[in-house]
């Protein structure tokens, strides 16, 4: 799958202009041939991907970014960008990013994965990348469920929500234990100078600013950066738009937004 930037830009420039309609601003690093994208309507993934694209454009790093994606709904982004990418295995995106970054330290390396990939099958990799302060950016899309496989319980599922097929009578702590808070875990483990944040897709500009800081942190401070994005999955939450936003509001009580550089306020 190879298309040149130039070809894409030319195509854009020669396309007839519909002056009366507001043209949505798509990042230049989007791969046009893969649009419309493959995510469900109302999904949070493409919101975050849009913001990643805007940041890549703004920082001018399209030609030096490696975007590594997990298996989960993130896999649908394999050709989302005109950026070099690879799919890995479920949970193995962080170590792939670690190996890549060590071998090519000037590249901007992003590991993009779901909460199942980051906090269940790949937890050990997240823990050790944090401990080593690997200078990569890990972005975890927390939709509180295993979305790709049809809505099973995730480590992030909270007691009543979202509904899951593997804890259909609620995730009661007596049976299932408690939920995992990724950024808080990272905070406990990180060396001083790591960037750790949680943001949410109901505020795309907040997502953008957070990801921009994370990528700049990787480039300038050569330290670990970690962003959890609270994200919508209306398909598995079985919510309409209004409910989706209401649930997101409620989830922020369990998973509060924050941003910090470790070791600076202790």
């Amino acid at each position: 799958m190879k298309t040149s930037n130039k070809q894409q830009r030319n195509r854009k420039e020669t396309a007839p202009r519909t002056a009366s309609l507001p043209v949505p601003s798509f990042p230049r690093c989007y791969k046009e041939s893969s649009k419309p994208h493959k995510f469900c309507p109302g999904c949070g993934h493409p919101i975050t991907l849009h913001e990643i694209g805007m940041v890549v454009d703004e920082l001018g790093i399209q030609n030096k970014t490696a975007f590594l994606i997990d298996i989960g709904c993130s896999l649908l982004a394999w050709d989302f960008f005109d950026i070099d990418t690879t799919q890995t295995h479920h949970g193995r995106t962080v170590p792939t990013a670690v190996g890549f970054k060590r071998a090519m330290p000037d590249a901007t390396v992003i590991a993009y994965l779901g909460d199942g990939g980051g906090y269940a099958i790949g937890t050990q990799h997240l823990v050790h990348a944090t401990l080593r302060n690997d200078p990569i950016t890990v972005i975890i899309i927390n939709n509180l469920t295993y979305a790709m496989t049809g809505g099973q319980m995730a480590p992030t599922t909270i007691e009543k929500q979202p509904p899951t097929t593997t804890a259909p009578f609620d995730r009661t702590p007596d049976v299932f234990g408690t939920n995992l808070k990724g950024p808080e875990l990272v905070l406990h483990l990180a060396m001083p100078g790591a960037f750790v944040a949680r943001t949410a897709v109901d505020n795309p500009l907040h997502v953008r600013m957070t990801i921009k800081e994370a990528l700049l942190h990787q480039q300038k401070n050569k330290a670990f950066s970690f962003v959890e994005v609270l994200s919508f999955c209306p398909t598995n939450w079985k919510t309409n738009a209004q409910e989706t936003f209401a649930w997101m509001g409620a989830f922020k009580e369990t998973y509060p937004l924050f941003k910090t550089i470790t070791g600076t306020n202790s």
Partner: protein
Amino acid sequence: MPRAKRRETKEFMQGNAVIAHAARAAGATSFYGYPITPSTEVFETWVQLCGNPHKPALSPVTKERLSYLQCEDEMASGFALIGACLAGKKAFTATAGPGNILMQDAFSAAEALRIPTVAVIMQRGGLSTSTVIYSQEEVTLTCFGGNGEGFRVVYSPSSLQDLYTYTLKSFNTAWKYRYPTFLLGDGYLGKMSGEVTRYPMLKREYVTPEPILLGPARQKSLSTNLRNCYDQEEEINSIIEQYRSDYARDSKAIAESESYRTRDAHTILIAHGIVASAAKVAVDMLRSTSARVGLWRPITLRPLDVPSLVSAVGNARRIIYIESALGQMSRLINDALIAYSETGKSFDLPAVRSLYAPALGITPTEIVEQVLKKS
């Protein structure tokens, strides 16, 4: 002979150390691993070669810094290795037994994405954790581990010198043909010490690695989007068919074997790895009693050197499989012979006998006894 021109040094070394030295001579710059007996000294020797991480030694080939990472587990080691290869570096790992099982996670991804990983497998006892010592029971796992078709290259060295030669070669094969490549040794070979001739890589043999992501395509503003997950049966089917024809083509250049005193032999011994060294001694012992015995030894277990196999066994009356496992090698060979006979070429399969000693070493005397045994 080009070898004569090389700056050769003879040294007394342990097998696992030989591999680390050969990897450095091959232009490898990094190692990702998790300790496991009997492979650990590959890692430890590499660490010594890297020196102080604050002032690391440089590769004699690329002048880049040598590095390593002790990972949290074998999945991390395998995938970090994939990451380094994606970034265009010759990198490697070493593992064994249960570590080999876990690392198949990454090797199956490397097979799907055609990533030139190099992995040293030092076989320990089979069946789970087993012994830390020796067997030939990781043949099937190394050749076919994962839900793939075995589009891999697997070298089976027989001696300490082979460890040097085929480690050096593994990196070039991996990067030239883009298959995950394995050096399948065993605990005896890894832990024994002896004299080895070391020599630098010849410039004309050296295959220069290129980044797979952020490489030459990116400089022409072409994006590379690798995938291992597909929507339709037909999509993945066409990838597998493509790999199959690539592998059939490349096999001709990659496959290697040794035929020892096979020309007039009525009995052909077939053995690989360290067992083939014992079989070679047995052939000489039997020849001195004028028994017409030869040895055919696959140097690559994947792909097999089928033309050489067929010419070695084609005129023989019987073949004897000898291995420290219950037929993991012989299944590969039987399959190849059946596939060959399906091509319609006239070929009579000789009588087959076996000396299987799972997880045990096999001596030349035991092999001689097997050959002389009346059916």
